[in-house]
């Protein structure tokens, strides 16, 4: 047995010790488990989450109407179209992103359970969020990141996130490309006995419910109605899951939940060669699609992020279009944010043009920007990696080959992803499996489809 295989055999035991949550008790028959019981048993109801966040400079961020961006979008819409675009300015949270909402509950829980420290595997804003909260609660913190390729070239965006973590006193373990990050993550948990502040635990998702709730509440107060649509940048699925749950909890049951990711199709996420050819290290299809179609691929036994339960639509944007909209947000609204947080903004810019002008579309996050994590440094880095910079229509962009910037705002166009294809990919994991009534009932919730439809889809899969 190799070192790697040996570590994987210890996975369950390490997870159990580092999460202090017995996932076994949520298991039902076969593939099924009781998702709501897992969420409810986490020990923090909505009010408790809200209180912890309030005490720690998290949440209650402003919801801003982007009047100039709306005006710009309307230039390209037919008469009477062009929904009002609002943005939840999540960059104003502790540590500069909505990830603070997730981190705050996990780290608080770790402290309460008596752990000496926390560990999180993340190359993104979540690391800074965990590190900031650990600093506030006087806990040790280790962030495990995938940073550099075999030529020792690092993504500037991830270097900046490392800096931010270190600014809060965390230790940052930087790794080369590959899924063995999980090996080192387990190794660190095993060695330190710290808490696994996973993005995918119930704590990580409960923390985002307040975001959806605040959006529903603020729009209702200002406009006397719920938003027609909320656009959510989708990667691991937690952002979408938590926001949708929060909206529902408030009562916004008809608000359309739209996922948006940057289209990186063609690039392999575990490829050393492809690693530095992308301009987005998160919010992209390389996470968004596999985590939607198989949520339990994460670093906990059962992921609390289950986006297909809530998603009504899934749209893709190109990298060039997101950079263009990032520039527009600065120039037209005086808000320098992103770029990764602006994926949903770019999507909303295009989607708003398909909606009536009295409708409301909410972009549910923004993130801080700065050296390394700025669209200028991302584009400059891409150019150095041999990526061709050009202007034209979105469909000309091929991830890893070029960045195509729009020649006009009218070229910022979303692409629809077929949701039924995603649901089918999800079901393919159970090909040739005989499923019980309880398992079908579970799939009904997982995919938000009726059982007859699922049976029919399974028949098609089994025949193929």
């Amino acid at each position: 047995m190799t070192k790697y295989e040996k570590m994987m055999t210890k996975k369950q035991e390490i997870m159990k010790d580092s999460l202090n949550l017995d996932y076994e008790k949520f298991e039902l028959e076969g593939i099924a488990f009781d998702y709501e019981k897992m969420m409810n048993d986490a020990g923090y109801d909505f009010e408790a989450v809200k209180k912890i966040q309030e005490d720690n400079h998290v949440g209650d961020t402003p919801l801003v109407e982007l009047k100039q961006i709306t005006k710009y979008a309307r230039k390209f819409a037919k008469k009477g179209y062009g929904a009002r675009i609002f943005l939840k300015d999540e960059a104003l949270n502790l540590s500069g992103s909505f990830k603070a909402r997730r981190a705050v509950i996990s780290v608080y829980h770790a402290k309460k359970m008596g752990y000496k420290g926390v560990v999180a595997a993340t190359s993104g804003n979540y690391g800074a969020a965990v590190a900031a909260m650990a600093a506030r609660l006087n806990l040790k913190c280790i962030i495990v990141q995938e940073v550099f390729d075999s030529k020792d070239i690092s993504q500037p965006e991830i270097i900046e996130k490392a800096r931010r973590c270190e600014a809060y006193g965390a230790e940052v373990i930087q790794l080369s490309v590959g899924p063995e990050l999980f090996y080192e993550f387990l190794n660190i948990l095993d060695q330190t006995k710290y808490f696994n502040a996973s993005l995918y635990s119930p704590y990580g998702i409960k923390g985002i419910e307040t975001l959806g709730y605040e959006i529903a509440d603020e729009v209702l107060k200002k406009e006397k109605r719920y938003p027609d649509a909320v656009v959510i940048t989708n990667a691991g699925g937690g952002n979408l899951t938590g926001t949708a749950r929060g909206l529902r909890y408030h009562g916004a049951k008809d608000t359309k939940i739209i996922a948006a990711s940057v289209d990186l199709s063609g690039l392999h996420m575990a490829s050393d060669h492809d690693f530095n050819l992308k301009s987005f290290t998160t919010g992209h299809t390389g996470f968004g699609i596999p985590f939607s179609t198989f949520p339990d691929r994460s670093d906990v036994p059962r992921s609390a992020a289950r986006p297909l339960r809530y998603m009504d639509q899934y749209v893709l944007m190109t990298q060039g279009a997101v950079f263009f909209i990032t520039e527009a947000l600065s120039l037209l609204e005086g808000m320098e944010r992103g770029p990764a947080g602006n994926i949903s903004l770019a999507a909303a810019f295009s989607l708003a043009q398909t909606m009536k002008e009295d409708e409301i579309i909410v972009v549910q996050e923004s993130e801080y920007t700065g050296a390394g994590k700025h669209f200028n440094s991302q584009i400059s880095f891409a150019k150095k990696q041999g990526i061709i910079l050009e202007f034209g229509s979105c469909e000309k962009e091929v991830a890893g080959k070029n960045l195509v910037f729009p020649k006009s705002g009218k070229d910022v166009i979303h692409k629809e992803l077929n949701l039924m294809d995603l649901k089918k990919s999800y079901l393919k994991h159970y090909k040739d499996k005989i499923l019980s009534k309880q398992e079908y009932a579970y799939l009904k919730e997982e995919l938000n489809l009726n059982i007859d439809k699922i049976i029919k889809m399974m028949e098609e899969i089994n025949e193929s």
Partner: protein
């Protein structure tokens, strides 16, 4: 020579190419899986030496010493004509609405 106690960067091979997970693309599989971490040097040493450090969480880690007093050099990148062009497009297209 770099003095004991100096803040340094070390590098180590976590898994040799032959020890890696088999479920990864070939261009990754033929590379070692490498880690870099910062901490405080436990003994005087030279760049390239195998050393022990104490990390921020007081863990003792050994590896090859690659840098003393590491700092951040990431930036906003070079000047780009393309960014200037995007700015011109956006402002020109919004010109007729700016005074609304």
């Amino acid at each position: 020579m770099i003095k004991k106690g100096t803040y340094v960067y070390i590098k180590k091979i976590v898994l040799k190419s032959s020890e890696r997970s088999s479920h990864i693309p070939f261009d990754t599989l033929d590379k070692d899986f490498v880690m870099k971490v910062k901490g405080y040097l436990m003994n005087d040493a030279f760049i390239g030496d195998n050393v022990d450090i104490l990390t921020e969480t007081k863990r003792r880690v050994s590896g090859i010493l690659i840098e003393a007093n590491p700092t951040y050099t990431h930036s906003f990148g070079d000047y780009l004509d393309e960014v200037k062009t995007m700015k011109d497009i956006i402002l020109t297209e919004m010109e007729d609405t700016l005074h609304d």
